[in-house]
């Protein structure tokens, strides 16, 4: 079992410990997971999958809760949705 997993956040590679969530990878790379409808930068709030503030696009699928998704090798993550 590899110690680290590499994913790509907005095109840039980010290395995280195996088992880390996409939220951790995103916050290592950038300030915010998403932009709110009135243009505010937003990051995770509840950390447990109910607030939806942490949502990002993963492998082309929008509105994925990054705090509930474990990083897999080569995942493509975008916060620009």
């Amino acid at each position: 079992m590899p110690e680290n997993v590499t994913v790509r956040v907005n095109g840039s590679p980010v290395s995280v410990p195996a088992g880390a969530t996409v939220a951790a990878a995103v916050l290592l790379s950038t300030n915010a997971c998403r932009t709110s409808i009135s243009g505010e930068p937003r990051g995770p709030l509840c950390g447990m999958g109910i607030c939806f503030e942490c949502r990002v696009e993963i492998d082309g699928r929008a509105h994925r809760r990054s705090c509930q998704t474990v990083c897999q090798p080569n995942m493509e993550i975008s916060t620009r949705g």
Binding site: V16, P17, G19, A20, T21, A23, A24, A25, L27, L28, N31, A32, S36, I37, S38, E40, P41, R42, G43, P44, L45, C46, G47, M48, G49, I50, C51, F52, E53, R55, H63, C67, Q68, T69, V70, C71
Partner: protein, 432 residues
């Protein structure tokens, strides 16, 4: 989205926190087929997130090991979105489940109460449990300055955990007054296991880092958090920090209980001595019946698991302990009762609904949750009112009720697989 996976079980348990794990294991001891569902990637709920190694509690390791050695079938990453009759429907990333059960145990736990104050939407303003969860999931916190704020025993646990991970926890700001906390600490000494929390409380208080009658007035920063302005007995101070971990104790997750028609009393699921709800065959254990902490959840979970599988004697042995721990429920409620100032932290232009960016002043114009929702879109986002609705209940005294499917956002393809209860099946003409 995958095809429908149909499963049958004797007992279905929703929620794999302490209550759910205890319920599932206890039920499985009878030889019954038990299915345990949880939205998170791994069992443990919030309090045991990260498994045995991530948790302080020796119970975590014990129970999680018992779970993996048991015959319980665990469905991870699965969120229930519909329930009717003896049928649960859940969605995971690869499948839609239709689960037929004999008995059902709801162990859906609780979530933090988030209340608006200026700047609360800034990145790095996170829940207290929320920050702990993120750190357990790989967020580095070593060397970061953290202010913990809000109310509840969770603040202490979080502060301790973050400190151990190398964070510099500058202050813990508890809105409750010292007098209430002193009484609580004394009361907790009567409970084994709570001793260390009481000790932690007194240690931190002596250090001067545990501030009572203190709450966040504003989070300051541009693109993310730079400082927190706190009101310490109405005296304003500014604390520079990298993270604000702020939560105002817990609210029960009642959505599934409501959808099933279980009677809710005074904001919690009503259960009898066997943890059975007003709907026969449906049980509830843990925080949805009253916020009482881990030990109570374990006891209630076991009793529910035994009751659902007619192991009455095994359950009875735990009644006395449950009665003792149940005293924590009103004690916690009273100790961490929110003071009136907390209802006024938000300014008119502070956002209440974060999904739809609706300000407090827009919502305040209405007399009910339904009217506010319809006219401002507050609560119409993907959180389905779990954040803003709970806040509105506290701030305005409204009742926020919704029990329509989907209980949780799911793909349209999954929603299309909602089925009528068995006795209505023949009228379902939906093409496959």
């Amino acid at each position: 989205m995958g095809s429908v996976t149909e499963r049958k079980c004797d007992v279905a348990v929703v929620g794999a926190g302490p209550a759910g794990i205890a319920a599932a294991i206890s039920a499985a001891e009878s030889g019954a087929q038990v299915l345990l569902l949880d939205d998170n990637p791994a069992p443990g709920g919030q309090i045991w997130r990260g498994g045995a190694k991530g948790s302080h509690h020796p119970e975590a390791g014990l129970w999680l090991e018992r779970l993996s050695n048991s015959q319980v079938t665990l469905l991870r990453g699965s969120r229930v979105f519909h329930a009717e009759g003896g049928l649960l429907q859940a969605e995971s990333d690869d499948a839609v489940y239709q689960l037929r059960f004999g008995s059902l145990i709801l162990a859906t736990g609780a979530r933090e109460l988030f209340l608006p104050f200026p700047g609360w939407t800034l990145p790095n303003v996170v829940g207290a449990g929320g920050l702990q969860a993120l750190v357990k999931s790989g967020l580095p916190i070593a060397g970061k300055r953290v202010v913990v704020a809000g109310t509840g025993p969770l603040l202490l646990a979080v502060a301790a955990y973050l400190s151990e991970r190398g964070a510099s926890v500058t202050n813990i700001c508890e809105q409750a007054p010292a007098s209430r906390l002193g009484a609580f600490a004394l009361a907790m000494i009567a409970f084994p296991g709570k001793l260390r929390e009481a000790a932690r409380l007194r240690f931190l208080a002596r250090q001067g880092r545990y501030l009572t009658s203190t709450w966040p007035a504003a989070a300051i920063g541009k693109e993310s958090l730079q400082a927190v302005r706190i009101s310490q007995n109405h005296r304003i101070r500014e604390l520079e920090c990298d993270y604000l971990a702020c939560g105002f104790h817990l609210v029960p997750n009642l959505e599934l209980a409501r959808a099933l028609g279980c009677r809710i009393n005074d904001g919690f699921v009503e259960v009898n001595h066997l943890q059975e709800t007003s709907r026969p065959g449906i049980y509830c254990a843990g925080e949805p019946t009253g916020i009482g902490g881990m030990e109570l959840s374990l006891l209630e979970g076991q009793i529910a698991g035994f009751a659902a599988t007619r192991q009455g004697e095994a359950g009875k042995r735990l009644f006395a302990a449950r009665t003792r721990y149940k005293k924590l429920v009103p004690a916690m409620r009273e100790t961490f009762r929110l003071r009136p100032e907390i209802a006024s932290l938000g300014q008119p232009d502070t956002l209440l609904c974060r999904c739809e960016d609706v300000s407090l002043e827009r919502v305040r114009n209405h007399n009910s949750w339904r009217a506010a929702k319809l006219h401002t879109r507050c609560g119409m986002g993907p959180c389905q009112g779990r954040v803003c609705g709970a806040a509105a209940e506290f701030l305005f005294g409204w009742t926020v009720e919704s029990s329509r499917p989907p209980i949780f956002p799911v793909a349209c393809a999954s929603l299309a697989k909602v089925s009528a209860p068995p006795d209505q099946r023949e009228h379902n003409e939906a093409p496959q």
